[in-house]
Amino acid sequence: MFFDEEFETLPRPALEALQLKRLQNVLERVNANVPFYRTSFAKAGFSPSDLKCLDDLQGLPFTTKQDMRDSYPYDLFAAPMEDIVRIHASSGTTGKPTVVGYTRKDISTWTDLMARSFVAAGAHKGDIIHNAYGYGLFTGGLGAHYGAERLGASVIPISGGNTKRQIMIMQDFGSTVLTCTPSYSLFMAEEAKAEGVDFKGLKLRVGIFGAEPWSEAMRDEIEQKLNLSAIDIYGLSEIMGPGVAIECIEAKKGLHIWEDHFIPEIIDPVTGQRLPEGELGELVITTITKQGIPLIRYRTRDITSLTYEPCICGRTHARIARMSGRSDDMLIIRGVNVFPSQIEAILVGIEGIEPHYMLIIDRQGTLDTLTVQVEVSEQLFSDEIKVLQALSRRVEKEIKDMLGVTCTAKLVEPKTIQRSEGKAKRVTDNRKL
């Protein structure tokens, strides 16, 4: 089944011709409207009219998350503010988020691609889509919501949290499709079990899971515990939001990236050189139809590989492999992006705390847990338990307030955390994904 059969199955020569035309167009637009690109192209001695074929893209400079931070909030926008109808943001490393803007056409494109993604995952008109992605600045909730409506399905905009109620609604409303993070789906399964609810008695048929890394083993577990077909979806707010790439239910082998809107490349994260098909490296994406904030060669920091092999589903769009890691130190904890440097910045801001810390990530049952170990300095130390406990709670609260992630602060003896000698080990990730 297709949502947009013509474009989803476009023969490669036609698809690549379309990409080239759109790429040339977006390069002209950013060169004319975004000072950042005008400067970076000029520095590279590049003029948009120089690009004659898709391979010429390799010669262009990258765009990084840092460039987005430096352009906070609107400096990378290529459309005037009066044409921007939606603003989303994702967490940033310094407390400042990464901001993206959408024109009316961008929202429409995103909605279409998300509807395409739903169909690829096996959803259709008539489905009752239980959307447990968070609604708000995060793109997950609204992105999936619009796509589901475009599809003609019935959307339940339940957002995250209040798991007991989620289970009751899935039962009573007859939800057939579930969208949430993979870890939250397993948490739901546990809660349902405790409530005496058997997923085999529910109408769920398909689960569309993303926003955090997961594995084939987790897929097996989810499919078995929730009695549905689990599909991997990929997206990031910088590029669009959810629906940049998705597995097809026919093959469940790699995620089709919608190449009529995005050009994917895989590079060596150290040298920046493009890697051949099939090799593992960092995913770089160029958006070729976006108006609000088009990005040229955006470094996603996600590690994957790319294949152009034809797929049994009939789609001609390339597939990226399941994400196998990050090329930077970003952690994804319960779907929330966290950089160790953000936690460090918060700790330094708390009077008397030294920037010696250790992050321990674990998975208890199905939910990620974050423990922040902080050394007790002489300045901090009190002979009263309540003072030390108040300190732990303050660390927990500041991290929750700033980053939106729940953690446990644990005070440890001084000098027991490894000191920074160039690159200190700040993170122990015990999750088995």
Partner: protein, 143 residues
């Protein structure tokens, strides 16, 4: 009128208490009184020793977090109601006890209660006016 107490932060790891007492023993320091407060993650060991400054120095050398706190030692007869008589007075004057611990003197047979108050000076004057016997640090260290 005040007694110096040393407090040591201890992670909940096996052998930490043994390590501290070994360091103190090797330095020839004698422990007069102690209390251990614990939570799930950490503990605080509070000690009164014959030489607080030396104890602090040797423990810090070994990397422990140590601080000194002023506490009050009050002597009461080791008989039923002894502790209660002090607490009644403190309660009437609205003085909070942050924590306390007690031991019994070897020779005199009196009980000694170590108090940490929120308002140490006020507590001392109240207890003195009620004729409780407050022990000098020097006496306690050499007991």
């Amino acid at each position: 009128m005040k007694v110096e107490q040393i407090s040591i932060f201890i992670e909940n790891k096996s052998g930490r208490l043994a390590e501290i007492t070994r360091i103190l023993g090797d330095a020839g320091i004698n422990i007069r009184a102690l209390s251990l407060a614990d939570t799930t993650d950490f503990g605080i060991l509070r000690l009164i020793v014959n030489d607080g400054n030396l104890a602090k120095t040797v423990l810090k050398e070994k990397g422990f977090t140590v601080n000194m706190t002023e506490v009050v030692a009050v002597e009461v007869p080791d008989t039923p109601g002894g502790l209660s008589s002090i607490l009644q007075v403190l309660d009437r004057q609205r003085i909070n006890v942050e924590y306390m611990y007690a031991f019994v003197e070897r020779c005199a047979g009196n009980a000694v209660i170590i108090f940490r108050f929120d308002e140490t000076d006020k507590a001392i004057s109240v207890l003195k006016s009620e004729n409780f016997n407050i022990l000098e640090g020097e006496r306690l260290y050499s007991m």
